[in-house]
Symmetry: C2
Subunit: 256 residues, 2 copies
Amino acid sequence: MEIKRPLLLISNDDGYQAKGINCLIDMLKDIADIIVCAPDDARSGYSCAFSAGIPLRLNLHRKEQGVEVWSCNGTPVDCVKMALANICKRQPDMVIGGINHGDNASVNTHYSGTMGVTIEGCLKYIPSVAFSLCDQHADADFEPLRPYVREITQRVLNEGLPKGVCLNVNFPLVPVYQGVKVCRMAFGTWYNETEKHHHSRGYDYWWMIGHYRNDEPEAEDTDNWALHHGYIAITPTQIDVTAYQAMDQISSWFNV
Amino acid sequence: MEIKRPLLLISNDDGYQAKGINCLIDMLKDIADIIVCAPDDARSGYSCAFSAGIPLRLNLHRKEQGVEVWSCNGTPVDCVKMALANICKRQPDMVIGGINHGDNASVNTHYSGTMGVTIEGCLKYIPSVAFSLCDQHADADFEPLRPYVREITQRVLNEGLPKGVCLNVNFPLVPVYQGVKVCRMAFGTWYNETEKHHHSRGYDYWWMIGHYRNDEPEAEDTDNWALHHGYIAITPTQIDVTAYQAMDQISSWFNV
């Protein structure tokens, strides 16, 4: 009797050629069939953006035993939508974003294209996980993540995730992990986000850069704290963004 | 004694020339000073994306009594960041996104550039509101919104909003409003999202389109229900996306 292997849909925001996504394939290809559909180039900071205005194209780069690698000229979310509609012959058992070069903790959740992938999977009711490493270098070493990536993926394949909940998993850059912490998202702030330059043709322009500040450094239950102290940070993340605790106050404004 | 007028920072994802943002200026310019910094063209579906890779520019289009209108070549979120860093001489009292041509209820919250504006304001701890009308036409009639936009803006200016909470306000397209409902975000799904075409040079391409389905049409506490029944839908929206209710389950996987 043939047992059907699970199907993983993998994307990222660093592009299909990035080391992180290729390491991820290597970590998981023995436990699942894999379809990769990732941007044809870096799309960091694309959040849940999709392309309303450009024609999207797909390119198949390689197809070998259990692994297909496609690229798309759109955003990370476009990649997931395109793969689900036009590549996957059945519904994937899981959507995975990453492994991202750089962390996606705290407020970066909102800006991250890796999280865009994961939220898109979750919006389609597919168990979804984002993996990110606190190392932006193109040649970052992802090998220490291997057992954790495999264990978390296997857990989610076996047990699923609650409806509307995905996982945002961030790995610190430390010699030895202190363990795993299940965390909440920290409040933090990007500041000095624009850097002014002058073009010799007579106009000013700005590059988006910025520095990050954890606004609650003492709080030990946050992702920022966990990463800062050498723990792998798993933040269960939900797509229902309703602020239930504020409903009474706002309702009182309208006597409803 | 001179009383300082409040300062509003306004942006959108339809571009600074759109009717919706210009109607918004007209509705609020007697109660506040206004700085507009909006995309130089339509940027629908840009979510919380920011531009990591392109040089950003600002253009001042008009400056009159209490109103400055700038455009930027970036995303809606870029516009807010650029305005806060390089245009506003003091912290705005409020950030407003809109008025959007088209609704931003339910899962559209995640894709919306209008909500990107509002979430960015909220991430900067500024009381922030998004206004959207369920009418995508360029010449949509925004006039019926006027008293509600003014009342909600004045309320937020007077009373503020809880930390980390912004408002997503959607107006139905009906002859007479049934009232105001404070709602939760509905679960819904976009389907048939890609439309395939063939280019005469021999390749396929796809346009991102799609149809929306409310996945819980019977639930009377959602934004989709309110809009469908003629109510103005106010969804308090939070930037902390932690799924607290899932933390125990995930923790049990790691004995933490």
